[in-house]
């Protein structure tokens, strides 16, 4: 079995991010919030301060490591919610058709027409900043692509012999959706989900940058960038390292998504067996 380079590199980057997030308390040198010491303020990267320190003298390396937890939680949880909503709406709309299909289509078009970041901003403005409202806002605003894919897959799978056969053999609608439709569209759904996770990490960074996501002093990569904005000329390491973390994670997720597309492609799958 030969896996593509993008799958391996993307998978490794994503695995690294997960690893860092899970082991953050052990990997970090200092507490990311409490260990402020003005005597160490704005130290450039060195052997003691790997990524340098910020204006309050907090270790950037420790903050980036802890920031992985928040960014990945937001990415994974919100994209999971998006996938569940998108697949449920898409499959039922494609399968039943009729007025329900019209309603779902209208809703999807609406979601696609409003920029999702603006929509998330509006939800955040109502719910207030914080991790929970961030998860809700991003989980409700990015399901439209998944929904489109699920609906289109359902429409084409619906006419397949085995779906017809299942109906003839007495399967109910729900059983057909779960046993016949869903497993056969899992490939594209996972690919879209992986790409969406990268998007959610970026969206969290953007919202936190705008001051509506994670509030200081808690470290998320976006809020760290936001705080570092004023010192970008005097202490560039404040923005470089969280930015690099975002860049590598999103790059990893996008490569993983591309790689998965090849791995899950039924044609390449049948070649392997």
């Amino acid at each position: 079995m030969k896996l593509g380079a993008s799958f391996v590199i993307g998978g490794a980057l994503f695995a690294l991010a997960i690893f860092v997030g899970l082991l953050a308390p052990w990997l970090a040198h200092t507490d990311p919030v409490m260990d402020a010491n003005l005597l160490n303020a704005e130290e450039p990267p060195s052997w003691i301060w790997w990524f340098g320190t910020d204006a309050q003298g907090r270790d950037i390396y420790s903050r980036v490591v802890h920031g992985a937890r928040i960014s990945l939680t937001v990415g994974i949880v919100s994209q999971f919610v998006n996938s569940v909503i998108g697949v449920t709406l898409g499959v039922t709309a494609g399968y039943w058709g009729g007025w329900w299909d019209d309603v779902v289509n209208g809703l999807t078009n609406l979601m696609l027409a409003i920029p999702s970041l603006i929509f998330a901003l509006a939800i955040m403005a109502v719910l207030g900043p914080g991790l929970t409202s961030l998860l809700i806002a991003l989980g409700l605003t990015n399901w439209s692509f998944t929904c489109r894919i699920a609906r289109a897959s359902t429409l084409s799978l619906k006419s397949q012999g085995y779906v017809q056969a299942a109906r003839v053999l007495g399967y109910g609608d729900l059983r057909i959706m779960i046993t016949q439709l869903l497993p056969n569209m899992l490939g594209p759904i996972i690919v879209i989900g992986t790409l969406g996770m990268g998007g959610a990490v970026l969206a969290e960074a953007s919202l936190s940058f705008l001051g509506l996501g994670i509030r200081p002093p808690y470290p998320s990569w976006g809020s760290m960038l936001s705080e570092a904005r004023d010192q970008i000329t005097t202490a560039p390491w404040l923005s470089i390292f969280p930015g690099l973390a975002i860049f590598l994670t999103v790059l990893g997720l996008n490569l993983l998504g591309d790689g998965l597309r090849d791995v899950l492609d039924p044609q390449s799958r049948s070649r392997r067996t």
């Binding site: 012999g161 017809q164 299942a166 003839v168 007495g170 399967y171 016949q180 039924p266």
Partner: protein, 326 residues
């Protein structure tokens, strides 16, 4: 012979509703199948045999619908049943196998699981028991090493093996009626003979009736006790299969019989051209008036072009729909 038939179709009409037009794709179709009987439905593509089968299991979808007539299964009208009751019949008491064994199996699910699903769905078994029963079902259709094969995916099996799996799924719940829609068309001839033999033996053992749908008159006559020939949405002749080659009454049936190549005919008659039926089956939208076979029929007269023939009873339980039957 007074017990009610297993399935009885009476004067069935199936409508095809487009936004612009409204035509009867199948009309005046009546037949009955007794318990354990084998019945064949023969006709060219598009003559309505497959949609008749779909109507039997209550699965006609828009734009097709039952316009008139009745279908009674075990004395109960199928159209009158709630959809949950219909679903409980399907797969459990009426099962079906299809032409394309490749596409009729779910590609991402092991075949054992697909068989086991039937026991879970219709017999209320748990997955442990169902998986055990699946191995037995696979063994009963003579798949070698069934306990290993249950873990295989459809693409790992040959066409003949897949059709065996389909038969195992269809017969899993011990149905009363097996509808076989062109079950061997996609297979090559030697495999075809094995599959037919297997299907016939299993159904005979279990007392399952077979409704076999095919365009192959020879195959159907070989498998079935009685054969009905369909043309353009109507049954034109129904006969015991032993009689159909010896003395068919309808000119269309005669044409079908003549168009079969016979072994040894060249030695007996010299080099002759195989007979064919001139013309093509009319499209559903332009079925001719009167007898629908009249434009292609050598015996057609004026009455054939104006009046649709009624069913005439023949000796030995046969019937024919023709003004000038033999």
């Amino acid at each position: 012979m007074t017990s009610p038939p297993l399935i009885e179709v009476e004067d069935l009409r199936i409508d095809l509703d487009d936004r612009s037009s409204h035509v009867a794709a199948v009309e005046g179709v009546s037949f009955r199948i007794d318990r354990g009987e084998t019945f064949g439905l023969v006709g060219e593509s598009g003559c309505g045999k497959s949609i008749t089968a779909l109507a039997l299991i209550g699965l006609l979808r828009q734009p097709l619908s039952i316009g008139a007539g009745a279908i009674r299964f075990d004395g109960r009208e199928i159209q009158g049943l709630a959809s949950a009751e219909q679903r409980a019949l399907r797969g459990n008491r009426i099962a079906m196998i299809f032409q394309e064994p490749m596409t009729a199996l779910n590609p991402v699910s092991p075949v054992g699981r697909q068989i086991a699903e039937m026991f879970v769905l219709h017999k209320g078994k748990n997955w442990r028991e169902a998986n055990q029963l699946a191995v037995e079902a696979l063994a009963s259709v003579r798949v070698p090493a069934p306990e290993r094969r249950v873990k295989d995916y459809p693409h790992q099996l040959s066409g003949g093996m897949r059709q065996r799996v389909m038969i195992a799924i269809a017969l899993a719940c011990g149905p009363d009626l097996l509808i076989a829609d062109e079950p061997t068309t996609a297979l090559d001839v030697t495999v075809q003979a094995e599959i037919i033999e297997l299907m016939r033996n299993l159904c005979a053992e279990r007392g399952t009736a077979i409704l076999m749908i095919s365009h192959d008159l020879g195959l159907v006559a070989n498998v079935c006790r009685r054969v009905a020939v369909m043309y353009a949405g109507r049954i034109v002749e129904e006969r015991g299969s032993a009689d159909i080659f010896r003395a068919c009454a309808h000119p269309y049936t005669q044409g079908l019989v003549d168009s079969l190549p016979r072994l040894g005919s060249r030695a007996a008659l010299g080099r002759t051209r195989l007979q064919e039926i001139a013309g093509v089956v009319p499209a559903i939208a332009d079925f001719p008036d009167g007898c629908r076979f009249n434009p292609r029929c050598a015996r057609a007269t004026e009455i054939c072009r104006t009046t649709a023939p009624e069913t005439t009873l023949l000796g030995a339980g046969g019937l024919v729909r023709c003004h000038h039957h033999a």
